[in-house]
């Protein structure tokens, strides 16, 4: 097609629009990204898929997937889903209320800045440092534990509280869940127009009616999206839980680690299959979200 090429060149020379330049340099610019995803996403994922269909001797098998129903694995999934769901909903609710009162409540602007800065830091506070921070404050010998025990002459450990339990783990997770919620939901709250509220009030709506019929439905897709994100955030966490409980609360990510690297449970293929299971659960959560969102999308531009 020499004609077209010549034509293209002429046009390119005349208008010299950036879009018509050879994009070689641009491709070069994004190549580290592709290299990165290839090395650290597609290759490991492929490795995972293949590995999940191999037994200990490297022979093809479906046994790994059949083993997902064994109590130890099923229990790990159940724990992971429970902890993730509770902290996603709890952290989501708390974070939403916090963000709503700071952004919509007419508090002075420094409150907003303070909350946003804290949230930016706290939402990234996870893993070993977070676990240690809680151990030093709320662990058996933590200073807050000691303070409470001394002040109220009780023993919260005796009373049934343990940081190293499921509830303890959930409390620790909340520490990064609700700030993440604040960060994600703040732009959505900013998107609520003052005119909507005033129009509703003008037509006789109470504050509650405004929230029920206008603000909440408008926010719902963002809220759902944020909670799904929080769920994934907790679902994939491993280091925090491992450091805190040393594996006494079996959650999926810890059991996978034990299957792949461990001495007791060592079964690499099953570990890979479990990881695939986690991928499927996340995919289901995201699919559910987009189905729900499509329903409200009728009015989204």
């Amino acid at each position: 097609m020499p004609d077209t090429a010549a034509d293209g060149n002429k046009r390119g020379a005349r208008s010299a629009r950036p879009a018509q330049r050879r994009p070689l340099l641009a491709w070069l610019g994004v190549s580290p990204f592709f290299l990165f995803t290839l090395l650290f996403m597609f290759l490991p994922a492929g490795f995972l898929v293949v590995g999940s269909f191999l037994d200990q001797e490297g022979q093809p098998t479906l046994q790994n997937y059949a083993d997902l129903t064994t109590p130890i694995v099923a229990n790990a999934y159940a724990n992971s889903i429970e902890i993730s769901a509770i902290t996603a909903i709890g952290g989501g609710l708390f974070g939403f209320l916090l963000a709503a009162s700071v952004i919509l409540g007419g508090l002075p602007p420094f409150m907003r800045n303070a909350l946003m800065t804290f949230s930016g830091v706290a939402s990234n506070f996870a893993g070993v440092p977070l676990a240690l921070a809680f151990i030093y404050t709320l662990g058996n010998l933590g200073f807050l534990t000691a303070f409470i025990n001394n002040t109220f002459a009780t023993d919260i450990g005796q009373a049934g509280f343990s940081l190293y339990s499921k509830v303890g783990l959930e409390i620790v997770y909340m520490y990064f869940q609700f700030p993440l919620m604040v960060l994600i939901i703040a732009p959505a709250l900013d998107g609520l127009k003052r005119d909507w509220r005033e129009a509703a009030e003008n037509m006789g709506a109470t504050g509650f009616q405004y929230w029920r019929y206008v603000a909440f439905p408008i926010l719902l897709p963002s809220l759902m999206g944020a909670v799904i994100l929080l769920f994934g955030n907790a679902f994939g966490a491993q280091a925090t839980a491992f450091q805190l409980t040393g594996g006494t609360i079996p959650i999926a990510s810890i059991v996978i680690g034990a299957q792949i690297r461990g001495d007791v449970l060592h079964n690499t293929g099953l570990g890979f299959a479990m990881a695939m299971g986690m991928v499927v659960i996340m995919a289901m959560a995201i699919t559910g979200y987009s189905l729900l969102q499509r329903r409200s999308e009728r009015w989204l531009k």
């Binding site: 127009k193 909507w196 006789g204 709506a205 109470t206 439905p217 009015w299 531009k301």
Partner: protein, 366 residues
């Protein structure tokens, strides 16, 4: 007996006075416009009527009930916003029915009323649409229907047409006025567009810097402005510098050419400004009117009219006026000398010291 009364209403934001001493009595069914430049306090006053701002002083009474301290949702006042402010998650029908729904009216009643309003705004087949599926003009009609659905006592509109393009602006403003007449609802309409205010209103409130400059019918405001601000803000105005020759007989001198004004209160020898509406000026003409001659500076062909600008003397100012176009018209040429006539009663005498906002001559096109 007035229906909507504002008495000595003021609004301060900290040390800043947005509205000072606003007093207005509107009859039932009257269409009142607030007209004034940006920042003069129109919206603030309207928001005080709606209840979104609490007056710093003064009272607001609707139908003999003092509503100064009522919350917005207890006022039964309908408001149309510049931004439409339709709820994006609700259909047209749901938006219109919202005021009745929150009043817990039975479903059939809401449906019936929504149907009536859709007829009223000529959108009967758009009930199930979402706001984003409508044009700007349609959205604003829905917003109007929504503000009327719960049968408010007063309708408030804050520059409802300013986000629309010129053609729709004119047709929609006529539609708003027709609906307002049909329902007989007392209406306050905020605008900074003088043509809108003059063509729609029973009465116009001209505002400037938080104060009322003049309240009157469009005819009064245009023909008998009481302040220099109103004279220059409403309509196009030519301003010429003059000096008083003989106050008793109303004789003035415009750069050596003598003219007469109906009444002159300034002392002899003092400097004054003479304001003239462009439509009162005619070319040539005989008789005992005032006559001024000057050099043509500019001739602009605008289709149905031709706009001519004439410079009168040195430093006295310029006169801009229009003549109707017709095929046999001989267009005057730039540089020609032209004689113009106008009646003495048409000369509005403004204080020379009075500040004439820079919008006198051609600003109405902006």
């Amino acid at each position: 007996m007035s229906f909507l009364t504002l008495t000595g209403v003021q609004k301060h934001f900290g040390a800043f006075t947005a509205v000072e001493d606003f007093t207005l009595e509107a009859e039932k069914g009257e269409f009142v416009s607030f007209l004034g430049p940006s920042g003069c306090g129109k919206t603030t006053t309207l928001r005080m009527i709606a209840g979104f701002e609490l007056p710093s002083a003064g009272r607001i009474v609707i139908n003999d009930v003092d509503i100064t301290h009522r919350s917005p949702n207890q006022r039964n006042v309908g408001m149309v916003f510049q931004s439409y402010a339709l709820f994006p998650n609700m259909t047209v029908a749901e938006n219109i029915g919202f005021g009745l729904k929150v009043r817990k009216r039975p479903k059939e009643q809401v449906q019936k009323r929504v149907g009536e309003l859709l007829e009223l705004i000529h959108l009967p087949d758009r009930a199930g649409r979402y706001p984003y599926q409508l044009s700007g003009g349609q959205q604003q009609r829905v917003a109007l229907a929504r503000a009327l659905a719960f049968e408010p006592q007063v309708l408030l509109l804050d520059e409802p047409l300013s986000a629309l393009d010129a053609k729709i602006r004119v047709s929609l403003r006529n539609e708003i006025r027709a609906i307002q007449r049909q329902l007989g609802i007392t209406t306050v309409y905020v605008t900074h567009d003088q043509e809108e205010a003059l063509s729609l209103s029973d009465r116009v409130v001209v505002m400037n810097e938080g104060r009322i400059e003049q309240i009157g019918t469009p005819f009064e405001i245009y023909n008998f402005p009481t302040t220099a601000f109103v004279a220059s803000f409403v309509g196009t105005l030519n301003v010429l510098a003059a000096s008083v020759v003989d106050a008793a007989s109303g004789r003035l001198s415009v750069d050596g050419q003598e003219i007469r004004a109906a009444s002159v209160s300034a002392p002899n020898g003092s400097k004054v400004s003479v304001a003239l509406r462009p439509e009162i000026v005619t070319i040539g003409g005989e008789g005992d009117g005032n006559r001024l001659s000057g050099k043509i500076e500019d001739v602009t062909f605008l289709g149905s009219i031709v706009r001519i600008r004439v410079k009168v003397g040195e430093g006295a100012g310029r006169l801009s006026f229009d003549t109707f176009n017709n095929p046999s018209l001989i267009l005057p040429k730039i540089g020609d000398t032209l004689a113009l006539t106008f009646p003495p009663e048409a000369c509005l005498l403004l204080d020379a010291a009075a500040e004439i906002p820079a919008l006198s001559i051609d600003a109405d096109e902006a």
